[in-house]
Amino acid sequence: MFQKMSMVFATGVMKIKYLKITHRSSIVAQFELKPPPYPLVALEPHLSRQTLEHHWGKHQKGYVENLNQQILGTELDGMGLEDIILASYNKGDPLPAFNNAAQIWNHEFFWESMKPGGGGKPSGDLLHLIERDFGSFKDFLREFVDTASAHCGSGWVWITYKANKLNVDNAVNPRPSENDYKIVVARTPNAVNPLVWDYSPLLTIDVWEHAYYLDYENRRAKYVSTIMEKLVAWDVVSSRLEVAKSRAAERAREEEERKRREEEFESEEEIDESEMFLNSDPEESEAE
Protein backbone atom coordinates (compact mmCIF):
# COMPACT_ATOMS: atom_id res chain seq x y z
CA MET A 1 0.00 0.00 0.00
CA PHE A 2 1.55 3.32 -1.00
CA GLN A 3 0.71 6.66 0.49
CA LYS A 4 1.82 10.07 -0.60
CA MET A 5 2.00 12.72 2.09
CA SER A 6 2.90 16.34 1.64
CA MET A 7 3.75 18.84 4.32
CA VAL A 8 4.02 22.55 3.68
CA PHE A 9 6.51 24.55 5.73
CA ALA A 10 6.77 28.31 6.08
CA THR A 11 9.61 28.90 3.65
CA GLY A 12 10.08 25.77 1.58
CA VAL A 13 7.78 23.17 0.12
CA MET A 14 8.75 19.70 1.20
CA LYS A 15 7.10 16.66 -0.20
CA ILE A 16 7.41 13.27 1.43
CA LYS A 17 7.07 10.68 -1.26
CA TYR A 18 6.13 7.07 -1.24
CA LEU A 19 5.69 5.97 2.34
CA LYS A 20 5.63 2.21 1.84
CA ILE A 21 3.63 0.55 4.57
CA THR A 22 3.97 -3.09 3.57
CA HIS A 23 7.74 -3.01 3.15
CA ARG A 24 10.32 -1.35 5.36
CA SER A 25 9.35 2.31 5.08
CA SER A 26 11.73 4.70 3.37
CA ILE A 27 10.79 8.35 3.63
CA VAL A 28 12.45 10.53 1.03
CA ALA A 29 12.22 14.25 1.63
CA GLN A 30 12.51 16.32 -1.50
CA PHE A 31 12.63 20.06 -1.91
CA GLU A 32 10.75 21.57 -4.81
CA LEU A 33 11.49 24.46 -7.12
CA LYS A 34 9.02 27.04 -5.78
CA PRO A 35 7.91 29.50 -8.49
CA PRO A 36 7.89 33.27 -7.92
CA PRO A 37 4.45 34.69 -6.98
CA TYR A 38 4.04 36.25 -10.46
CA PRO A 39 4.62 35.08 -14.02
CA LEU A 40 8.21 35.19 -15.28
CA VAL A 41 7.35 37.97 -17.69
CA ALA A 42 5.76 40.18 -15.04
CA LEU A 43 8.86 42.11 -14.04
CA GLU A 44 9.55 43.45 -17.54
CA PRO A 45 11.07 45.83 -18.54
CA HIS A 46 13.18 46.06 -15.40
CA LEU A 47 14.05 42.37 -15.24
CA SER A 48 13.53 40.55 -18.49
CA ARG A 49 11.74 37.25 -18.90
CA GLN A 50 14.97 35.72 -20.20
CA THR A 51 16.72 36.65 -16.95
CA LEU A 52 13.94 35.13 -14.85
CA GLU A 53 13.88 32.00 -17.01
CA HIS A 54 17.59 31.46 -16.48
CA HIS A 55 17.81 32.72 -12.94
CA TRP A 56 14.85 30.74 -11.61
CA GLY A 57 14.64 28.00 -14.21
CA LYS A 58 18.31 27.05 -14.37
CA HIS A 59 20.28 28.42 -11.41
CA GLN A 60 17.69 27.90 -8.68
CA LYS A 61 16.64 24.58 -10.20
CA GLY A 62 20.26 23.47 -10.04
CA TYR A 63 20.46 24.31 -6.35
CA VAL A 64 17.27 22.36 -5.63
CA GLU A 65 18.41 19.27 -7.52
CA ASN A 66 21.86 19.36 -5.96
CA LEU A 67 20.51 19.78 -2.44
CA ASN A 68 18.10 16.87 -2.84
CA GLN A 69 21.00 14.69 -3.90
CA GLN A 70 23.27 15.90 -1.13
CA ILE A 71 20.91 15.38 1.81
CA LEU A 72 19.75 11.94 0.71
CA GLY A 73 20.49 9.47 3.45
CA THR A 74 22.13 12.01 5.75
CA GLU A 75 20.88 13.41 9.03
CA LEU A 76 19.85 16.59 7.20
CA ASP A 77 17.25 14.58 5.32
CA GLY A 78 13.81 15.45 6.63
CA MET A 79 14.77 18.78 8.18
CA GLY A 80 13.17 22.05 7.14
CA LEU A 81 15.14 24.37 4.89
CA GLU A 82 16.03 26.92 7.59
CA ASP A 83 17.15 24.15 9.92
CA ILE A 84 19.38 22.70 7.22
CA ILE A 85 20.92 26.12 6.68
CA LEU A 86 21.69 26.65 10.35
CA ALA A 87 22.97 23.12 10.85
CA SER A 88 25.17 23.02 7.76
CA TYR A 89 26.59 26.49 8.37
CA ASN A 90 28.49 24.77 11.14
CA LYS A 91 29.57 28.04 12.77
CA GLY A 92 31.51 29.29 9.76
CA ASP A 93 32.95 26.02 8.48
CA PRO A 94 30.11 25.10 6.16
CA LEU A 95 29.24 21.61 5.03
CA PRO A 96 28.66 21.00 1.31
CA ALA A 97 24.87 21.23 1.68
CA PHE A 98 25.05 24.79 2.99
CA ASN A 99 25.63 26.52 -0.34
CA ASN A 100 22.70 24.86 -2.05
CA ALA A 101 20.30 25.14 0.88
CA ALA A 102 21.10 28.77 1.56
CA GLN A 103 20.86 29.70 -2.12
CA ILE A 104 17.40 28.11 -2.36
CA TRP A 105 16.23 30.06 0.67
CA ASN A 106 17.82 33.29 -0.58
CA HIS A 107 16.23 33.04 -4.01
CA GLU A 108 12.75 32.29 -2.68
CA PHE A 109 13.11 35.26 -0.34
CA PHE A 110 14.29 37.41 -3.27
CA TRP A 111 11.37 36.61 -5.59
CA GLU A 112 8.90 37.25 -2.80
CA SER A 113 10.53 40.61 -2.05
CA MET A 114 9.51 41.91 -5.46
CA LYS A 115 6.25 42.37 -7.30
CA PRO A 116 5.23 43.87 -10.63
CA GLY A 117 4.38 47.53 -10.17
CA GLY A 118 6.17 47.70 -6.83
CA GLY A 119 8.63 50.30 -5.61
CA GLY A 120 7.78 53.66 -4.14
CA LYS A 121 8.20 54.28 -0.45
CA PRO A 122 7.48 52.08 2.54
CA SER A 123 4.97 53.18 5.13
CA GLY A 124 4.08 52.81 8.76
CA ASP A 125 6.51 51.43 11.26
CA LEU A 126 9.00 50.37 8.60
CA LEU A 127 9.34 53.92 7.30
CA HIS A 128 9.57 55.23 10.85
CA LEU A 129 12.40 52.86 11.74
CA ILE A 130 14.25 53.57 8.48
CA GLU A 131 14.07 57.30 9.10
CA ARG A 132 15.16 56.82 12.71
CA ASP A 133 18.16 54.65 11.86
CA PHE A 134 19.34 56.28 8.61
CA GLY A 135 18.18 59.88 8.87
CA SER A 136 15.95 59.84 5.83
CA PHE A 137 14.65 57.42 3.24
CA LYS A 138 16.95 58.97 0.62
CA ASP A 139 20.03 58.46 2.82
CA PHE A 140 18.97 54.89 3.41
CA LEU A 141 18.62 54.27 -0.34
CA ARG A 142 22.01 55.77 -1.01
CA GLU A 143 23.68 53.61 1.62
CA PHE A 144 21.89 50.55 0.30
CA VAL A 145 23.00 51.14 -3.30
CA ASP A 146 26.55 52.03 -2.20
CA THR A 147 26.82 48.84 -0.17
CA ALA A 148 25.65 46.81 -3.15
CA SER A 149 28.12 48.51 -5.50
CA ALA A 150 31.05 48.18 -3.13
CA HIS A 151 30.58 44.47 -2.68
CA CYS A 152 33.33 42.56 -4.45
CA GLY A 153 32.39 39.20 -5.89
CA SER A 154 29.14 37.29 -5.64
CA GLY A 155 26.72 37.79 -2.78
CA TRP A 156 23.55 39.41 -1.50
CA VAL A 157 22.56 42.78 -0.05
CA TRP A 158 20.06 42.74 2.79
CA ILE A 159 17.88 44.93 4.90
CA THR A 160 17.65 43.19 8.25
CA TYR A 161 16.12 43.73 11.65
CA LYS A 162 18.71 43.35 14.35
CA ALA A 163 17.47 42.43 17.80
CA ASN A 164 18.71 43.77 21.09
CA LYS A 165 22.18 42.37 21.54
CA LEU A 166 25.68 43.64 21.77
CA ASN A 167 27.84 42.32 18.96
CA VAL A 168 29.70 39.97 21.26
CA ASP A 169 28.04 36.69 22.13
CA ASN A 170 28.64 36.52 25.83
CA ALA A 171 28.25 40.22 26.66
CA VAL A 172 25.09 41.69 28.09
CA ASN A 173 23.75 45.06 27.06
CA PRO A 174 24.03 47.12 30.27
CA ARG A 175 21.47 49.71 29.23
CA PRO A 176 18.97 48.19 26.85
CA SER A 177 16.60 50.53 25.08
CA GLU A 178 14.07 50.58 22.25
CA ASN A 179 16.76 51.97 19.93
CA ASP A 180 18.74 48.75 20.05
CA TYR A 181 16.23 47.13 17.79
CA LYS A 182 17.61 48.47 14.54
CA ILE A 183 17.25 48.22 10.83
CA VAL A 184 20.64 47.34 9.38
CA VAL A 185 21.92 47.19 5.79
CA ALA A 186 24.19 44.17 5.43
CA ARG A 187 25.97 42.39 2.63
CA THR A 188 26.97 38.76 2.57
CA PRO A 189 29.31 36.78 0.32
CA ASN A 190 28.27 33.92 -1.97
CA ALA A 191 25.45 32.01 -0.26
CA VAL A 192 25.63 33.34 3.29
CA ASN A 193 22.50 34.99 4.69
CA PRO A 194 21.77 36.87 7.94
CA LEU A 195 19.91 33.92 9.45
CA VAL A 196 23.29 32.57 10.47
CA TRP A 197 23.89 35.75 12.47
CA ASP A 198 20.50 35.46 14.07
CA TYR A 199 19.27 38.65 12.36
CA SER A 200 15.80 38.80 10.84
CA PRO A 201 16.06 39.51 7.11
CA LEU A 202 13.43 41.83 5.67
CA LEU A 203 14.52 42.31 2.05
CA THR A 204 17.24 41.02 -0.20
CA ILE A 205 18.66 41.76 -3.61
CA ASP A 206 20.82 39.26 -5.45
CA VAL A 207 24.14 40.79 -6.53
CA TRP A 208 25.52 37.66 -8.11
CA GLU A 209 26.27 38.76 -11.64
CA HIS A 210 23.88 36.22 -13.13
CA ALA A 211 21.03 38.21 -11.59
CA TYR A 212 21.60 41.35 -13.65
CA TYR A 213 24.15 40.69 -16.36
CA LEU A 214 21.74 40.04 -19.22
CA ASP A 215 19.75 43.21 -18.49
CA TYR A 216 22.30 45.63 -17.07
CA GLU A 217 25.72 44.14 -17.96
CA ASN A 218 28.12 45.68 -15.47
CA ARG A 219 25.82 48.42 -14.14
CA ARG A 220 25.10 46.95 -10.74
CA ALA A 221 24.15 50.27 -9.13
CA LYS A 222 21.52 50.89 -11.81
CA TYR A 223 20.12 47.39 -11.30
CA VAL A 224 19.81 47.81 -7.53
CA SER A 225 18.29 51.28 -7.70
CA THR A 226 15.82 50.15 -10.38
CA ILE A 227 14.61 47.35 -8.14
CA MET A 228 14.28 49.73 -5.21
CA GLU A 229 12.36 52.27 -7.29
CA LYS A 230 10.16 50.02 -9.36
CA LEU A 231 9.92 46.47 -8.02
CA VAL A 232 10.25 46.23 -4.25
CA ALA A 233 7.16 44.86 -2.51
CA TRP A 234 7.13 47.09 0.56
CA ASP A 235 4.00 45.45 1.96
CA VAL A 236 5.80 42.11 2.11
CA VAL A 237 8.78 43.78 3.78
CA SER A 238 6.50 45.44 6.34
CA SER A 239 4.82 42.16 7.20
CA ARG A 240 8.23 40.56 7.64
CA LEU A 241 9.12 43.41 9.98
CA GLU A 242 6.05 42.68 12.11
CA VAL A 243 7.06 39.02 12.34
CA ALA A 244 10.61 40.04 13.22
CA LYS A 245 9.44 42.43 15.92
CA SER A 246 7.17 39.88 17.57
CA ARG A 247 9.98 37.33 17.42
CA ALA A 248 12.35 39.81 19.06
CA ALA A 249 9.75 40.67 21.71
CA GLU A 250 9.23 37.00 22.50
CA ARG A 251 12.97 36.49 22.78
CA ALA A 252 13.24 39.46 25.13
CA ARG A 253 10.50 37.95 27.28
CA GLU A 254 12.28 34.59 27.37
CA GLU A 255 15.53 36.34 28.28
CA GLU A 256 13.83 38.08 31.18
CA GLU A 257 12.24 34.86 32.36
CA ARG A 258 15.56 33.11 32.27
CA LYS A 259 17.31 35.90 34.15
CA ARG A 260 14.58 35.99 36.75
CA ARG A 261 14.84 32.26 37.28
CA GLU A 262 18.62 32.49 37.57
CA GLU A 263 18.38 35.23 40.17
CA GLU A 264 15.90 33.21 42.21
CA PHE A 265 18.21 30.23 42.04
CA GLU A 266 21.19 32.32 43.19
CA SER A 267 19.29 33.93 46.06
CA GLU A 268 18.21 30.48 47.27
CA GLU A 269 21.83 29.39 47.43
CA GLU A 270 22.73 32.40 49.55
CA ILE A 271 20.12 31.47 52.14
CA ASP A 272 21.59 27.98 52.37
CA GLU A 273 25.06 29.32 53.09
CA SER A 274 23.91 31.65 55.84
CA GLU A 275 21.85 28.89 57.37
CA MET A 276 24.86 26.64 57.41
CA PHE A 277 26.79 29.32 59.25
CA LEU A 278 24.10 30.12 61.81
CA ASN A 279 23.30 26.51 62.53
CA SER A 280 26.46 25.90 64.52
CA ASP A 281 25.33 25.98 68.14
CA PRO A 282 27.63 28.13 70.33
CA GLU A 283 26.86 25.91 73.28
CA GLU A 284 28.42 22.94 71.56
CA SER A 285 31.66 24.73 70.98
CA GLU A 286 34.70 22.51 71.39
CA ALA A 287 36.58 25.22 73.17
CA GLU A 288 34.90 24.39 76.44
Partner: protein
Protein backbone atom coordinates in the same frame (compact mmCIF):
# COMPACT_ATOMS: atom_id res chain seq x y z
CA UNK B 1 53.15 64.65 -22.34
CA UNK B 2 55.21 66.63 -19.87
CA UNK B 3 58.49 65.32 -21.29
CA UNK B 4 57.36 66.42 -24.71
CA UNK B 5 56.56 69.87 -23.41
CA UNK B 6 59.98 70.22 -21.78
CA UNK B 7 61.63 69.23 -25.04
CA UNK B 8 59.76 72.00 -26.75
CA UNK B 9 61.07 74.53 -24.27
CA UNK B 10 64.64 73.64 -25.21
CA UNK B 11 64.02 74.94 -28.71
CA UNK B 12 63.57 78.60 -27.91
CA UNK B 13 62.03 79.98 -31.03
CA UNK B 14 59.65 77.22 -31.89
CA UNK B 15 56.20 78.69 -31.72
CA UNK B 16 53.55 76.35 -30.49
CA UNK B 17 50.88 76.59 -33.11
CA UNK B 18 47.59 77.14 -31.40
CA UNK B 19 44.23 77.80 -32.98
CA UNK B 20 44.04 81.25 -31.47
CA UNK B 21 46.97 82.50 -33.55
CA UNK B 22 45.92 84.51 -36.59
CA UNK B 23 49.07 84.97 -38.65
CA UNK B 24 52.49 83.38 -38.23
CA UNK B 25 55.09 85.76 -36.79
CA UNK B 26 58.32 86.39 -38.67
CA UNK B 27 61.55 85.57 -36.86
CA UNK B 28 64.52 87.62 -38.09
CA UNK B 29 67.54 86.53 -36.03
CA UNK B 30 66.69 83.19 -34.36
CA UNK B 31 69.59 82.99 -31.91
CA UNK B 32 69.41 86.50 -30.46
CA UNK B 33 65.61 86.49 -30.12
CA UNK B 34 64.56 86.48 -26.47
CA UNK B 35 62.52 83.53 -25.25
CA UNK B 36 58.85 84.23 -25.71
CA UNK B 37 56.63 81.47 -24.50
CA UNK B 38 53.12 80.89 -25.78
CA UNK B 39 50.29 80.42 -23.28
CA UNK B 40 50.51 76.67 -23.71
CA UNK B 41 54.25 76.58 -23.01
CA UNK B 42 53.88 78.90 -20.02
CA UNK B 43 51.27 76.65 -18.46
CA UNK B 44 53.43 73.58 -18.81
CA UNK B 45 56.58 75.28 -17.57
CA UNK B 46 54.68 76.39 -14.50
CA UNK B 47 53.33 72.93 -13.86
CA UNK B 48 56.74 71.36 -14.36
CA UNK B 49 58.14 73.51 -11.58
CA UNK B 50 55.62 72.34 -9.04
CA UNK B 51 54.93 68.87 -10.42
CA UNK B 52 55.14 65.80 -8.28
CA UNK B 53 55.89 62.36 -9.58
CA UNK B 54 52.71 60.31 -9.41
CA UNK B 55 52.51 56.61 -10.12
CA UNK B 56 49.44 55.55 -11.99
CA UNK B 57 48.54 52.02 -12.89
CA UNK B 58 47.14 51.16 -16.24
CA UNK B 59 45.62 48.13 -17.84
CA UNK B 60 47.12 46.20 -20.72
CA UNK B 61 45.24 46.01 -24.00
CA UNK B 62 44.48 42.50 -25.21
CA UNK B 63 47.04 41.49 -27.88
CA UNK B 64 44.28 41.01 -30.44
CA UNK B 65 41.30 42.97 -31.67
CA UNK B 66 38.17 42.79 -29.55
CA UNK B 67 36.33 40.76 -32.16
CA UNK B 68 39.23 38.38 -32.81
CA UNK B 69 38.00 35.74 -30.39
CA UNK B 70 34.62 35.30 -32.07
CA UNK B 71 32.65 33.06 -32.01
CA UNK B 72 34.07 31.67 -28.76
CA UNK B 73 34.13 34.96 -26.88
CA UNK B 74 31.99 37.66 -28.43
CA UNK B 75 33.11 41.17 -29.14
CA UNK B 76 30.42 42.52 -26.80
CA UNK B 77 31.82 40.43 -23.93
CA UNK B 78 35.29 41.82 -24.53
CA UNK B 79 33.95 45.35 -24.85
CA UNK B 80 32.25 45.13 -21.49
CA UNK B 81 34.77 42.90 -19.77
CA UNK B 82 37.88 44.80 -20.83
CA UNK B 83 36.30 48.17 -21.51
CA UNK B 84 34.16 48.46 -18.38
CA UNK B 85 35.15 45.96 -15.68
CA UNK B 86 38.89 46.09 -16.25
CA UNK B 87 38.77 49.88 -16.54
CA UNK B 88 36.79 50.13 -13.30
CA UNK B 89 39.52 48.26 -11.47
CA UNK B 90 42.13 50.67 -12.85
CA UNK B 91 40.15 53.77 -11.95
CA UNK B 92 39.26 52.39 -8.54
CA UNK B 93 42.86 51.51 -7.75
CA UNK B 94 44.25 54.86 -8.87
CA UNK B 95 41.65 56.64 -6.78
CA UNK B 96 42.48 54.56 -3.72
CA UNK B 97 46.19 55.18 -4.12
CA UNK B 98 45.92 58.94 -4.51
CA UNK B 99 47.50 59.84 -1.20
CA UNK B 100 48.65 56.47 -0.11
CA UNK B 101 51.94 55.24 1.37
CA UNK B 102 51.64 52.25 -0.99
CA UNK B 103 52.94 54.40 -3.84
CA UNK B 104 55.99 53.05 -5.62
CA UNK B 105 55.26 49.34 -5.95
CA UNK B 106 55.10 47.46 -9.18
CA UNK B 107 51.73 45.87 -9.74
CA UNK B 108 52.91 42.40 -8.70
CA UNK B 109 54.49 43.78 -5.53
CA UNK B 110 51.35 45.74 -4.80
CA UNK B 111 49.23 42.61 -5.05
CA UNK B 112 51.43 40.74 -2.58
CA UNK B 113 51.70 43.67 -0.17
CA UNK B 114 48.00 44.47 -0.11
CA UNK B 115 47.13 40.78 0.34
CA UNK B 116 48.71 41.26 3.73
CA UNK B 117 49.08 37.51 4.34
CA UNK B 118 45.39 36.76 4.26
CA UNK B 119 44.00 39.92 5.80
CA UNK B 120 43.65 41.96 2.64
CA UNK B 121 43.65 45.72 2.55
CA UNK B 122 40.92 47.56 0.63
CA UNK B 123 43.26 48.10 -2.33
CA UNK B 124 43.79 44.37 -2.80
CA UNK B 125 40.63 43.68 -4.78
CA UNK B 126 41.34 46.33 -7.38
CA UNK B 127 45.07 45.62 -7.64
CA UNK B 128 44.64 41.86 -7.88
CA UNK B 129 41.78 42.04 -10.36
CA UNK B 130 43.80 44.44 -12.49
CA UNK B 131 46.72 42.00 -12.56
CA UNK B 132 44.44 38.99 -13.09
CA UNK B 133 42.77 40.49 -16.11
CA UNK B 134 46.06 41.55 -17.72
CA UNK B 135 47.15 37.93 -17.29
CA UNK B 136 43.86 36.60 -18.65
CA UNK B 137 43.92 38.54 -21.94
CA UNK B 138 47.43 37.32 -22.59
CA UNK B 139 46.46 33.73 -21.77
CA UNK B 140 44.21 33.68 -24.82
CA UNK B 141 44.73 34.11 -28.53
CA UNK B 142 42.60 33.89 -31.63
CA UNK B 143 42.83 30.39 -33.09
CA UNK B 144 44.16 29.08 -29.79
CA UNK B 145 43.48 25.89 -27.92
CA UNK B 146 44.27 22.55 -29.52
CA UNK B 147 47.27 20.89 -27.88
CA UNK B 148 50.49 22.06 -26.34
CA UNK B 149 53.75 20.67 -27.69
CA UNK B 150 57.38 20.25 -26.78
CA UNK B 151 58.52 21.11 -23.29
CA UNK B 152 55.10 22.22 -22.08
CA UNK B 153 53.49 18.95 -23.16
CA UNK B 154 56.29 17.00 -21.54
CA UNK B 155 55.88 18.84 -18.26
CA UNK B 156 52.10 18.37 -18.30
CA UNK B 157 52.44 14.66 -18.96
CA UNK B 158 55.04 14.37 -16.25
CA UNK B 159 52.97 16.15 -13.61
CA UNK B 160 49.43 15.09 -14.49
CA UNK B 161 49.95 11.77 -16.22
CA UNK B 162 48.41 12.80 -19.50
CA UNK B 163 46.95 15.81 -21.25
CA UNK B 164 43.44 14.41 -20.75
CA UNK B 165 43.96 14.14 -17.01
CA UNK B 166 45.11 17.76 -16.89
CA UNK B 167 42.03 18.88 -18.84
CA UNK B 168 39.72 16.88 -16.57
CA UNK B 169 41.30 18.34 -13.47
CA UNK B 170 41.10 21.85 -14.87
CA UNK B 171 37.43 21.52 -15.81
CA UNK B 172 36.58 19.91 -12.48
CA UNK B 173 38.25 22.73 -10.55
CA UNK B 174 36.38 25.31 -12.61
CA UNK B 175 32.99 23.66 -12.13
CA UNK B 176 33.43 23.02 -8.43
CA UNK B 177 34.26 26.66 -7.74
CA UNK B 178 31.31 28.31 -5.95
CA UNK B 179 30.79 32.03 -6.41
CA UNK B 180 33.27 34.21 -8.26
CA UNK B 181 36.88 33.24 -8.75
CA UNK B 182 39.63 32.06 -11.07
CA UNK B 183 41.13 28.76 -12.15
CA UNK B 184 44.86 28.54 -12.74
CA UNK B 185 47.56 26.28 -14.01
CA UNK B 186 50.47 27.14 -11.76
CA UNK B 187 54.06 26.05 -11.42
CA UNK B 188 54.53 25.32 -7.76
CA UNK B 189 57.87 26.73 -6.72
CA UNK B 190 58.61 24.38 -3.82
CA UNK B 191 57.32 21.15 -5.35
CA UNK B 192 58.64 22.19 -8.77
CA UNK B 193 55.66 20.84 -10.61
CA UNK B 194 52.52 21.92 -12.38
CA UNK B 195 49.27 22.00 -10.47
CA UNK B 196 45.70 23.19 -11.04
CA UNK B 197 44.56 25.74 -8.52
CA UNK B 198 41.27 27.56 -7.97
CA UNK B 199 40.93 30.82 -6.06
CA UNK B 200 38.00 32.95 -4.89
CA UNK B 201 37.12 36.47 -5.89
CA UNK B 202 40.35 38.36 -6.58
CA UNK B 203 42.93 36.04 -5.04
CA UNK B 204 45.68 34.79 -7.35
CA UNK B 205 48.62 32.39 -7.00
CA UNK B 206 51.14 35.22 -6.59
CA UNK B 207 50.09 35.66 -2.99
CA UNK B 208 51.12 32.08 -2.26
CA UNK B 209 54.44 32.48 -4.04
CA UNK B 210 53.47 30.23 -6.95
CA UNK B 211 54.06 31.09 -10.59
CA UNK B 212 50.85 31.32 -12.61
CA UNK B 213 50.99 29.88 -16.13
CA UNK B 214 47.34 29.99 -17.31
CA UNK B 215 44.51 32.00 -15.79
CA UNK B 216 40.80 31.55 -16.54
CA UNK B 217 38.23 34.04 -15.28
CA UNK B 218 35.28 32.20 -13.70
CA UNK B 219 33.47 35.34 -12.58
CA UNK B 220 30.07 35.28 -14.23
CA UNK B 221 30.76 38.49 -16.12
CA UNK B 222 33.36 36.61 -18.16
CA UNK B 223 30.91 34.18 -19.73
CA UNK B 224 27.33 35.11 -18.96
CA UNK B 225 26.62 37.03 -22.16
CA UNK B 226 27.93 34.18 -24.32
CA UNK B 227 27.19 31.00 -22.38
CA UNK B 228 24.74 32.08 -19.65
CA UNK B 229 24.76 29.32 -17.06
CA UNK B 230 26.59 26.70 -19.15
CA UNK B 231 29.94 26.93 -17.38
CA UNK B 232 31.17 23.60 -18.63
CA UNK B 233 30.84 24.71 -22.25
CA UNK B 234 32.73 27.90 -21.46
CA UNK B 235 35.65 26.07 -19.85
CA UNK B 236 35.80 23.45 -22.60
CA UNK B 237 35.75 26.18 -25.24
CA UNK B 238 38.57 27.97 -23.47
CA UNK B 239 40.69 24.81 -23.46
CA UNK B 240 39.81 23.85 -27.02
CA UNK B 241 39.79 27.17 -28.83
CA UNK B 242 41.18 30.03 -26.78
CA UNK B 243 44.10 29.17 -24.54
CA UNK B 244 47.40 30.40 -25.94
CA UNK B 245 49.99 27.66 -25.62
CA UNK B 246 52.56 30.05 -27.10
CA UNK B 247 52.14 32.32 -24.12
CA UNK B 248 52.32 29.32 -21.83
CA UNK B 249 55.65 28.34 -23.38
CA UNK B 250 57.00 31.86 -22.89
CA UNK B 251 55.84 31.93 -19.30
CA UNK B 252 57.50 28.57 -18.70
CA UNK B 253 60.78 29.87 -20.11
CA UNK B 254 60.58 32.80 -17.72
CA UNK B 255 59.57 30.56 -14.83
CA UNK B 256 62.62 28.36 -15.36
CA UNK B 257 64.73 31.31 -14.31
CA UNK B 258 63.15 31.02 -10.88
CA UNK B 259 62.52 27.30 -10.55
CA UNK B 260 64.94 24.59 -11.57
CA UNK B 261 62.86 21.95 -13.28
CA UNK B 262 65.63 19.71 -14.46
CA UNK B 263 67.36 16.94 -12.60
CA UNK B 264 70.23 18.27 -10.51
CA UNK B 265 73.51 17.80 -12.29
CA UNK B 266 75.68 16.14 -9.65
CA UNK B 267 79.24 15.93 -10.87
CA UNK B 268 80.81 12.50 -10.62
CA UNK B 269 84.12 12.59 -8.84
Amino acid sequence: MMAMASQLLLLPNLRFHSNSQSAPRVISNPICRPLKLSKFQKRYKQSLRDSRVLAFYGRKTPPYKLDALEPYMSQRTLEVHWGKHHQEYVDGLNKQLENSPLYGHTLEELVKVTYNNGNPMPEFNNAAQLWNHDFFWESMQPDGGKSPWGGVLQQIEKDFGSLEKFRDEFVEAALSLFGSGWVWLVLKTKEKKFAVMKTSNAVNPLVGGEIPIIGLDMWEHAYYLDYKDDREKYVMTFLNHLVSWHTVALRMIRAEAFVNLGEPKIPVA
